[in-house]
C-alpha cells in the first residue's frame, strides 16, 4: 500500500475526528482550523471522490434538507483500509522523527 499524501492524511484525519458529522461544511472548517488553509467546497468534493475511489472512505448521500436549499449532504466515513493507511502514516512519522531533538539546530549525535 502506498503512503498517504499529506493532503490525504489531513482529510482522513478530519473525517476520523468528525465521526458522524463528517460532511462538507464541518470538514472545511476543521481543515482550516488545523492547518490555516482554506479549501474550496468544489475542490474538497474532488479530493474526497478520489479518496473514495482509492478505497479509503465511503460516501453516503443523505436526504436534502430545507436549510440547504433543498440539496442533500454527503457523509464520509473511514473504511478499514483508510484506518490502516492512517496507522501506517503514524508509524512512518514516528519512525522518521525518532530521536530528532526538539530544536533542529542541535547536533544529532549525542
Amino acid at each position: 500500500m502506498r503512503f498517504l499524501s499529506r493532503a490525504d492524511e489531513i482529510l482522513l484525519l478530519a473525517v476520523l475526528r468528525l465521526k458522524e458529522n463528517a460532511y462538507g461544511v464541518p470538514i472545511v472548517k476543521e481543515v482550516e482550523k488545523r492547518t490555516g488553509k482554506k479549501i474550496t467546497f468544489g475542490g474538497l468534493w474532488v479530493q474526497m471522490d478520489n479518496l473514495c475511489k482509492k478505497g479509503y472512505i465511503t460516501k453516503t448521500i443523505a436526504d436534502p434538507t430545507p436549510e440547504r436549499g433543498g440539496r442533500g449532504k454527503i457523509y464520509y466515513t473511514l473504511t478499514h483500509k483508510g484506518e490502516k493507511a492512517l496507522e501506517q502514516v503514524r508509524e512512518l512519522n514516528s519512525s522518521l522523527w525518532e530521536d530528532i531533538p526538539g530544536s533542529l539546530k542541535k547536533p544529532i549525535s549525542d
Binding site: 462538507g24 472545511v28 468544489g42 468534493w45 474532488v46 478520489n50 448521500i61 436549510e67 436549499g69 449532504k73
Partner: protein, 851 residues
C-alpha cells in the same frame, strides 16, 4: 438573522448547476449555502456574496476537470475489457470482423461505383453552368432528337446571346483516322476537334504548352501524355508535326488524360479552325455552352428554343418547326440517348441494381454480426450479473455493449478499407472501371463509411446491448442456462433472412448468365460466323475498285467469299432520313441505313421473302435498288410486302426490289427497327471475308500482306465479326460478372455466419449431446439431428427467396426485347447449392461436437 430575508445569490448557483448537475455534485451547492448563511451572520451580506462567487469560480474548473477525467478512466476500462474479450474469443472475433469487413467493403465499392456513374464531367469548373445544345426536329409524323447541331450555329450563339460566357464545339470528324509520325503509324479512334474556348471551359490540365493559345491557330493539336509517349517516345512533341490522314498538325500542347467518367474522351484534339470548308458549312457536331453566373437558365432556354426560326437563313427555313433545347452536362451520361449521341449512354438501371445489391450484402453482414454477438453473449451472462451486483446501472451496461459493438465495427471498417485497397485491381478488371486508392480517400466516401459504420454498429449492437443488460443478476449467478426463448427465435430468423438473400442473389446471377447466353447464341437471322472484316478508311479507300480488291483477297484458298459494305453489322448504324418518293412530309423517317454490294445478301445469308433480291451470281447490269426489312414496311405506310415492292424511295429512280426477313442487325437487346439497304457500287468502307477456319493464322498473315501490298504505308485494321458483334453485350457481361462476385461474397459471409453459429450451438448443447449419447444414440444420429435443424432454417430461406427472386428478375428481363423466361432450373439449382453449402458447413461443426 432572518434567513428568509437573505438568499444565496442565484446567479452563481445557476452557473454551477448548469455545469455540474448530478445529485451528488449538487451537495456542494448545499454546503455552499449552509456556509453562506454563517458568513452572512459573521461578516454581512456583501462579504458573503463575494465569498460565494469566489467559491463557485474556483470550484467549477476543478469539478469539471475531475468529471472529464473520470469519464476518460471509465472509457479506458471498457476499452480494455472489450479488447480482452476479443482476444479470448479469437475465433468468433475473426469470423465476425471478417464477415463485417467484407460487407462494408462491398458497400464502399458500390458507393464508389454509384458515385462514378452519377458524376460524369463534374470535374470541370462550374460544371453546373455547362450545357449541351440539342436539336428537336419534326419531320413527317415524328419528332427526332439530335445530339449534334449545325456547327455554324455556335458562331451565331456567341454573337447574339449575351448570357453565354463561352461556346464550344467538340466533336469527332471521323470514327477512325490514320495518325502518323515518322515510323509510328496507326489508326486512332479518339481524335477530336475543338474550339480554343474549350480549353477555357473544360478542365484539361496542361503538362506542356500554353492553354491560352494552344488551339488558336488552324492545324494545331494537343495530345494526351500517353498518346505523346506512343508516337514520340521520350522526345518533346511540342513544335513537331504529326499527320492525320494526310494533313500535318503542329503539336502545341501535351495534356493529362481525361478521367474515365467523362463524355469528352479524347487522345488528341485538333483546333477547330483546321476544319475543311465543306465541313465548316455543313457539319453537325456537339455544341456546348457555358452560361454566365447571373443568367437564368430557364429564360435562356426559352430564348434559344426559337433559334432555328429566328436565325433561319432562307425564307423557307423560317417555317421550320425545329427547336433547340439544353441538356445539363452532368445529366447527359445517364439520361440521354439521342441520335448521333457520341457515346452509348450509361444505364441508370444498373446503378440502382448495384445499390440494391449493396444493401443486400450489408444486410447479410449486419445480420451475421447480430447473430454471432447474441450467441456469444450467452457466455457473458456471468459478467453481466456480476457487474450488476457491484452496482452497474442498466444504462452503463448498454453503453458498454454498444461501445463494444462500435469498436468492432470500427475495426471492421478499417479492415474493409485495407481489403479494398488490396483488391482494387481485381475489381477494376471485372467491372472495367479505373478506381485508384486515391478515390477511396475522398471525403464523401469517408463520410459514407462513417455513416455505415455508425449505422451498423448501432443496429447490430442494439440487440445484444438491450438483451444482455436485461439479465437478472440472481438467476444468472445461480448458474442456470439462460433459455431466452425470444433470443433463439430472433437468431433463427436472422439465419433464414441471410440465406433468403443469398439464394436470391444466386438465382439472379444464374438468370443473368442464362439471358446473356441466350442473347449471344440466339439466331440472328444472318450469319456472323467465320467472318473477318477489314476496314478501308481514310486514305485506304477502295472506291469503285471494290470488286478488284475483293478478287485480290479471294485468291487465297481459305478465303471463300467476300462482300463490301459501308458499315459493319452490330456496330452503331448510320441513320438517314428516308421517305417513300413524293411523301417526304408525311412519311419521312430516320432509319438505319447501309450500302451494300451484290454479294452481301448471300454472304450473310439474309433471307428474302418477297421480290427477287439479287441473283446469286453477281450481275453487274442490275440497276441500283433498295432492300427493306419487314419492319420498314409499316414504317413507310404500306400494308404488305407485295405493296412495298416496286415503290421508290428518296425521290430517286431506284425502287425497292426486295423485302428482307427481319434480322437482328444491331443486337438482340432491342426490337428490330426498320432497315434500308441500298444496292450500290460506291462508298464502301468495309470488306467482309468469309474464311475457312483451318490454318487461321496463315490466312490472317495473307490478309495482312495483301493489304500492305495494295495500300502501302497504311495501317491495317481488321477484326472477327462474331467477337465484334458480341461486344455489345459488354455491359450485360459486366453486370453478370459483378453480380457473380457479390453473390459469392454474400454466400461466403452467410456461411461464415452459419459456421460460427453452428459451432456455438454445438457448444451449448454439449450437455444435451452427452446425454443423448449415453442413452445410446450414435454419433451419426446426433449429427443428423443437428443438421436437420439447420436444414429446416435454410429451407425456409429458400421458400422466401423464390418469389422475391422471381419478381425482381421478371422486372429486369423486361428490359430486353428478346428474353428467356426465368425457368425452373435456376431456382432449383440455387436452392440445391445453398443447401449443400449449408450442410457442409454444419457437418464439420456437428461432427466435432458429437465426438
Amino acid at each position: 438573522m432572518d434567513r428568509a430575508k437573505v438568499k444565496p445569490p442565484g446567479f452563481p448557483r445557476w452557473i454551477f448547476s448548469h455545469f455540474a448537475s448530478s445529485q451528488e455534485k449538487m451537495t456542494v451547492v448545499g454546503d455552499l449555502d449552509e456556509y453562506f448563511f454563517e458568513i452572512v451572520d459573521e461578516k454581512g451580506k456583501n462579504r458573503a456574496i463575494m465569498w460565494y462567487w469566489g467559491q463557485v469560480l474556483k470550484s467549477l474548473p476543478l469539478i469539471i476537470k475531475h468529471t472529464i477525467y473520470r469519464s476518460y478512466i471509465m472509457f479506458r476500462n471498457y476499452l480494455k475489457i472489450s479488447l480482452r474479450n476479443l482476444q479470448r474469443n479469437k475465433g468468433f472475433s475473426v469470423i465476425n470482423i471478417l464477415g463485417l469487413s467484407i460487407g462494408i467493403a462491398s458497400c464502399l465499392l458500390i458507393l464508389l461505383y454509384v458515385r462514378f456513374e452519377s458524376n460524369y464531367d463534374t470535374h470541370h469548373k462550374d460544371h453546373e453552368r455547362i450545357y449541351r445544345v440539342a436539336l428537336s426536329s419534326k419531320s413527317g409524323a415524328s419528332e427526332q432528337l439530335y445530339a449534334s447541331i449545325p456547327n455554324k450555329h455556335a458562331l451565331v450563339f456567341k454573337d447574339v446571346y449575351p448570357e453565354l460566357e463561352e461556346v464550344v464545339r467538340f466533336g469527332k470528324q471521323s470514327s477512325m483516322q490514320a495518325v502518323k509520325y515518322r515510323d509510328k503509324h496507326f489508326y486512332e479512334s479518339d481524335v477530336m476537334i475543338m474550339d480554343q474556348s474549350g480549353l477555357e471551359v473544360f478542365n484539361i490540365p496542361f503538362v506542356n504548352g500554353d492553354p491560352s493559345t494552344a488551339l488558336l491557330r488552324p492545324f494545331t493539336a494537343i495530345l494526351t501524355e500517353e498518346f505523346a509517349l506512343k508516337y514520340f517516345g521520350n522526345e518533346n512533341p511540342i513544335g513537331k508535326i504529326i499527320s492525320l490522314d494526310t494533313t500535318g498538325y503542329e503539336i502545341t500542347g501535351v495534356v493529362k488524360k481525361p478521367p474515365t467518367n467523362t463524355l469528352l474522351k479524347f487522345d488528341m484534339i485538333v483546333s477547330f479552325d483546321s476544319i475543311d470548308d465543306h465541313r465548316r458549312n455543313n457539319w453537325f457536331c456537339p455544341v456546348y455552352i457555358k452560361l454566365r453566373g447571373e443568367a437564368d437558365v430557364e429564360v435562356f432556354e426559352n430564348k434559344i428554343k426559337a433559334f432555328p426560326r429566328d436565325y433561319a437563313e432562307t425564307e423557307e427555313d423560317r417555317n421550320t418547326e425545329d427547336t433547340l433545347f439544353l441538356q445539363p452536362l452532368k445529366d447527359i451520361h445517364l439520361s440521354s440517348n439521342l441520335i448521333w449521341e457520341p457515346h452509348p449512354p450509361g444505364n441508370p438501371m444498373y446503378v440502382y441494381i448495384f445499390m440494391v445489391v449493396g444493401v443486400f450484402i450489408m444486410m447479410i453482414a449486419g445480420m451475421n454480426y447480430m447473430n454471432l454477438s447474441t450467441a456469444r453473449s450467452m457466455n457473458r451472462s456471468g459478467e453481466v450479473g456480476l457487474r450488476k451486483v457491484v452496482g452497474a446501472h442498466r444504462k452503463q451496461l448498454i453503453i458498454q455493449f454498444m461501445g463494444e459493438s462500435l469498436l468492432l465495427t470500427f475495426i471492421a471498417t478499417v479492415f474493409a478499407f485495407l481489403l479494398l485497397a488490396l483488391s482494387l485491381n481485381f475489381f477494376n478488371s471485372i467491372g472495367e472501371t479505373e478506381f485508384r486508392i486515391a478515390d477511396l480517400l475522398q471525403s464523401d466516401i469517408i463520410a459514407g463509411s462513417i455513416v455505415i459504420f455508425i449505422l451498423i454498429g448501432f443496429v447490430s449492437g442494439s440487440y445484444p446491448a438491450l438483451f444482455l443488460s436485461a439479465f437478472k443478476p440472481v438467476s444468472v449467478l445461480k448458474g442456470g442456462n439462460i433459455k431466452g426463448m425470444k433470443g433463439t427465435l430472433v437468431r433463427k430468423a436472422l439465419v433464414v433472412g441471410q440465406f433468403a438473400i443469398s439464394i436470391t442473389l444466386i438465382i439472379g446471377t444464374l438468370i443473368i448468365f442464362k439471358q446473356l447466353d441466350y442473347m449471344k447464341n440466339m439466331s440472328l437471322g444472318f450469319n456472323k460466323e467465320q467472318k473477318i472484316v477489314v476496314s478501308f478508311l481514310g486514305n485506304a479507300t477502295i472506291g469503285a475498285n471494290y470488286q478488284n480488291v475483293k478478287d485480290e483477297f479471294l485468291q487465297h484458298p481459305s478465303i471463300l467469299g467476300a462482300t463490301a459494305a459501308s458499315n459493319v453489322l452490330g456496330r452503331w448504324q448510320i441513320r438517314w432520313q428516308v421517305w417513300p418518293s413524293g411523301q417526304r412530309e408525311e412519311r419521312g423517317q430516320t432509319v438505319n441505313f447501309l450500302m451494300i454490294d451484290r454479294d452481301f445478301l448471300s454472304e450473310y445469308e439474309i433471307e428474302i421473302i418477297e421480290g427477287m433480291g439479287f441473283a446469286r451470281e453477281p450481275n453487274i447490269n442490275q440497276p441500283d435498288g433498295f432492300l427493306i426489312n419487314e419492319a420498314a414496311i409499316g414504317a413507310f405506310g404500306w400494308n404488305s410486302p407485295q405493296e412495298a415492292i416496286g415503290k421508290g424511295l428518296w425521290d430517286r429512280d431506284s425502287e425497292i426490289i426486295g423485302i428482307m426477313k427481319n434480322f437482328h442487325f444491331s443486337g438482340v437487346q432491342s426490337a428490330i427497327e426498320p432497315y434500308v439497304l441500298l444496292l450500290s457500287n460506291e462508298q464502301f468502307r468495309y470488306i467482309t471475308l468469309r474464311i475457312d477456319t483451318e490454318n487461321l493464322s496463315e490466312t490472317v498473315s495473307f490478309i495482312e500482306n495483301k493489304y500492305s501490298e495494295l495500300f502501302q504505308n497504311q495501317p491495317i485494321d481488321y477484326f472477327f465479326l462474331d467477337e465484334d458483334f458480341d461486344k455489345q453485350y459488354r455491359s450485360e457481361e459486366r453486370t453478370a460478372n459483378i453480380f457473380t462476385m457479390f453473390t459469392i461474397l454474400g454466400l461466403f459471409i452467410a456461411c461464415l455466419g452459419l459456421f460460427g453459429l453452428a459451432s456455438f450451438m454445438a457448444q451449448q448443447r454439449t450437455k444435451e449431446i452427452g446425454i443423448r449419447k449415453i442413452l445410446g444414440a450414435s454419433s451419426n444420429s446426433v449429427i443428423i439431428l443437428l443438421i436437420k435443424e439447420f436444414v429446416r432454417l435454410v429451407g425456409l430461406g429458400i421458400v422466401i427467396s423464390w418469389p422475391l427472386a422471381y419478381f425482381s428478375m421478371s422486372i429486369w428481363l423486361q428490359n430486353f426485347a428478346y428474353r428467356i423466361s426465368p425457368g425452373w432450373i435456376s431456382f432449383i439449382a440455387a436452392a440445391f447449392m445453398a443447401l449443400t453449402i449449408a450442410v457442409l458447413t454444419v457437418i464439420y461443426q456437428s461432427y466435432r461436437a458429437a465426438s
